[in-house]
């Protein structure tokens, strides 16, 4: 993790008619950081991720991702990010290699480079014999790891993970997070949303959203100290449901 900012958000507002999905968000994310994005369903996480990844434009405010303005240069942003959503982004009826070739090609990589990276990737995951298998034949955990590897195949500056570990067993989740650490160590920023509070502990910094606003943003340790909580889960409950206290 360095001090180079790869995401800068200032006073981001996103409205749908009268409904304000993102209310004046401001934050920064640094190169190589693992940045956790927490919040209940409908808190505005997905809206924010869609804006950061160039899928939709902000109503007002300034958003700079990988050096490009989200409002004016969404196409440039798309070339410099990776993305993996909660549902799979791999095609079940294509083989492992075909999927890698497809996504590599979409991101403008040369065939030779894609083949080289495919070999390293399969070797790293002990996947060699799976190269020509259909994705539908793989167990869920393997699919998820593969989807993540494909999302960072083109060495993006940032990778967005939208609830990447839904429905996966604890061991695979743990392996998955090891892959996330490794990726961040290579200098790729990881922007991750999650439901699992134990996963939030693994992040360098976390931001907690509630009703469209960021209500807390700091390292897990600092947040726990501030709210006098033993775990991020406790912090989250104290913040998100103050009425219950």
């Amino acid at each position: 993790m360095t001090n180079n900012k790869v995401i800068t958000v200032r006073n981001l507002v996103k409205k749908f008619g009268n409904f304000t999905a993102n209310d004046n968000l401001s934050f920064e994310v640094y190169e190589g950081e693992i940045f956790g994005f927490l919040g209940a369903n409908g808190a505005g996480k997905t809206t924010a991720i869609r804006i950061l990844s160039g899928l939709s434009g902000p109503t007002s405010g300034e958003v700079v991702v990988a050096g490009f303005n989200a409002k004016k240069q969404p196409e440039q942003i798309k070339k410099n990010i990776g993305y993996m959503c909660q549902k799979f982004s791999l095609y079940e009826d294509l083989t492992v290699k075909e999927n890698i070739m497809l996504y590599g090609g979409i991101y403008g990589m040369r065939k030779k480079l894609i083949r080289e990276r495919t070999d390293t990737l399969l070797a790293k995951l002990n996947f060699e014999e799976y190269g020509d298998r259909l994705i539908s034949d793989l167990p869920l955990g393997l699919k998820q790891k593969l989807a993540f590897s494909v999302a960072v195949l083109h060495e993006p500056k940032i990778v967005f993970l939208d609830e990447p570990t839904g429905g996966v067993d604890p061991i695979t989740r743990r392996q998955f997070w090891e892959m996330i650490y490794e990726t961040a160590a290579r200098g790729i920023t990881v922007f991750v949303t999650t439901h699992y509070m134990d996963e939030a502990e693994y992040c360098d910094r976390i931001s907690i959203m509630n009703e469209g606003r960021i209500v807390a943003l700091d390292t897990p340790a600092e947040l726990k100290r501030q709210y006098a909580a033993d775990s991020v889960e406790e912090v989250f409950i104290k913040i998100a449901r103050p009425a219950n206290n």
């Binding site: 990844s53 959503c85 799979f88 982004s89 095609y91 075909e98 996504y103 090609g105």
Partner: protein
């Protein structure tokens, strides 16, 4: 461009690996053409007729022979009394019973007038009408022969010729109709399914955040179906030519060009359906109920639009296939040129542009 072709290749892989898609693309069109061509044939061929001949003379013999040697009818039971008629028709094999009155031949010669009754099975209205019409025609033909031999009596003698389809082959009606139906089925249904499938799987999100432009994604998904539909069209034309001896009378180039326009329009409608449906089921429902059924019932391919109540005529005017049926029948069967179908062509272009425009609008709203 390289990005785009990799994407198109992937779409072909989806199609070739899914046997259901392959059946819809190539099995159904061939089956439909053969089914409609052979089974749903509206022609009369070897229909069985029974005779109740109460006269048994030379004239009734002649008329019966004339009927059964025409190729339209074959001789069924020979009945002895009126009681048997009901039994024979209930057997379902015999389509009509022909009754010659007593002393038929004698009456004809002495009075110049004799009665033959035709009793048909009305539970199959089309068949019954067809049968009675054909029988009447053959008998009046015999009438004319008689009148011709006895000089002096003057009769108005109509000479009927069927233009464009002299043998009145039913395939002339069905082949263009089936092409119209198949193209809209494959294009609208398959494109709406393939696009909504990506939405359901979540891969659409992954594609949208990729450097591929939305236009490239849609074109990439649609292009394979465009190519395969076109191949389908050629298969259908060759089949109908080889099996039913149905040539394209007009310009083949014009027919292919108009078909490309129609395919393009159907694809645009498929895209439009995919922008309004969230799930594959929804897309299938809209395509089948919204496009297929009206096409079969209201496009004028089976039931003439002129005979429909006015309201249905209006609804039919909103159905693009209706215009393509006119175009393709004109070119295939009548052999007319572009001058006769330019209005319908313009309407198809308008439908295409409207569908594309609406899709872009819906897509932008969704992306906001």
């Amino acid at each position: 461009m390289k990005r785009f072709f990799g994407f198109v290749k992937k779409e072909f892989l989806h199609i070739f690996r899914d046997y259901r898609t392959m059946i819809i693309l190539f099995g159904i069109p061939a089956a439909q053409i053969l089914l409609f061509g052979f089974v749903v044939s509206m022609d009369l061929k070897n229909a069985r007729v029974a005779f109740l001949d109460l006269s048994r003379d030379e004239v009734t013999q002649k008329i019966s022979d004339k009927l059964t040697s025409s190729g339209f009818f074959k001789r069924g039971e020979t009945l002895l009394s009126y009681k048997d008629i009901d039994k024979v028709l209930r057997g379902n094999k015999t389509k009509a019973v022909i009754i010659f009155e007593k002393d038929f031949g004698r009456n004809l010669i002495r009075n110049g007038r004799a009665t033959v009754s035709i009793i048909a099975d009305g539970s199959e209205p089309n068949m019954a009408t067809l049968t009675t019409n054909y029988i009447s025609a053959i008998i009046s033909d015999y009438n004319r022969e008689l009148a011709g031999s006895s000089a002096g009596s003057i009769l108005v003698q109509p000479e009927v010729r069927m233009f464009y389809n002299p043998a009145l082959k039913g395939q002339y009606m069905f082949v263009p109709g089936v092409i119209t139906l198949i193209m809209i089925l494959i294009c609208a249904l398959m494109t709406s399914i393939t696009i909504t499938r990506e939405k359901e799987l979540g891969t659409m999100e992954a594609l949208l955040v990729s450097p591929l432009k939305p236009v490239q994604i849609i074109l990439g998904k649609v292009l394979p179906y465009f190519i395969l539909s076109f191949i389908d069209l050629i298969v259908i034309l060759v089949l109908s030519w080889l099996v039913f001896e149905l040539p394209v009378k007009g310009s083949l180039a014009l027919l292919l060009a108009e078909s490309m326009l129609y395919i393009l329009m159907s694809l645009s409608i498929g895209i439009l359906i995919s922008t309004v449906s969230k799930t594959m089921q929804q897309a299938i429902f809209i395509s089948l109920v919204g496009m297929m059924l009206p096409t079969v019932l209201l496009s004028g391919f089976i039931f003439p639009i002129e005979n429909m109540p006015e309201v249905y005529g209006w609804i039919s005017a909103l159905l693009p296939p209706r215009y393509f049926v006119v175009i393709i029948k004109n070119i295939m069967v009548k052999g007319t040129g572009f001058l006769y179908v330019w209005k319908e062509t313009a309407i198809l272009v308008a439908f295409t542009l409207a569908a594309i425009g609406l899709s872009i609008r819906n897509f932008k709203i969704r992306l906001q």
